[in-house]
Amino acid sequence: MKHILNLATALAVGLMPIAAGAQSMSPMRGEVNSFTDAFAVRVFPANPYDQKIKVEIHVYDQDFQPVDAKISPSVFQLGSQASRPVLVVVPFGGAAERKVRICTESIPFPNQQTQIRAQICGKFFGHRKS
């Protein structure tokens, strides 16, 4: 019984980093209330590859037009199986609410004939409260 418990514990501990690293971005949905002219979202891009990759964060509106948001940091290198927080501050632009997509983009294998850019986008809804 003790051996089984030890095995289960080791398995659980071993699986934890894999599970945590197996997301490209979280959360992918969110609703934020703000009392200021902007709302903030913290997302966590993750690198599921066994190699370091360059990650870019972009913010788009519903029509995939770029949004002038503050992204810290917007471009960075992410180590294998690693994740890091990114703060995105989106202005309301005079509107009472705003829907945006926050996208994590990477080209894991650049400099080849047909490259694939993997893009994971989360949808976020900001409400301005008076």
């Binding site: 997301q23 992918m28 949905r29 599921p48 294998f109 047909t114 490259q115 994971i120």
Partner: protein, 156 residues
Amino acid sequence: MTLFRTAFGAALLVACLDHAAMATTQNVIFNGTVTATCTLVVGSNGTMTVSPDLQSLSSHNSGGSAGTVTLTTTGGVSLSVDPVTTTTVPAADSTATTWTPTYSASGAHAIAETASSTALTVPGADLVSVNLAGTKSGSNRFANGNYQATVTLRCE
């Protein structure tokens, strides 16, 4: 006296049973929330080859290969490809090319080759094949040199 002992023993047994019956149970509640998640892992990029009439540069042509991506999701997301905007062509190619990216998937979701968005409602893992075809019309032909294009595969 024997009868008294029997009665007393029986009463004691019933009393003990009562105590056992009074033991209480309490449920321990566990809650968990799984939010929408999508992971894209690019396995390989694609390769395009030119057709004998030099009007098609495609991963579908003989010798070409699709790019492969492993997708894992909880469901509640959608998959799509963007129109190709980033290309590099040889200087000798000055004519227009129409680029058409498509994808198909097998696994938890069976998706026939499409260029449209697909809703992934159920959880699971898929192998996504990404294809790209460039075509020239009229008298235009692909030129000698290196071509490069980037296909964006989006999960949202």
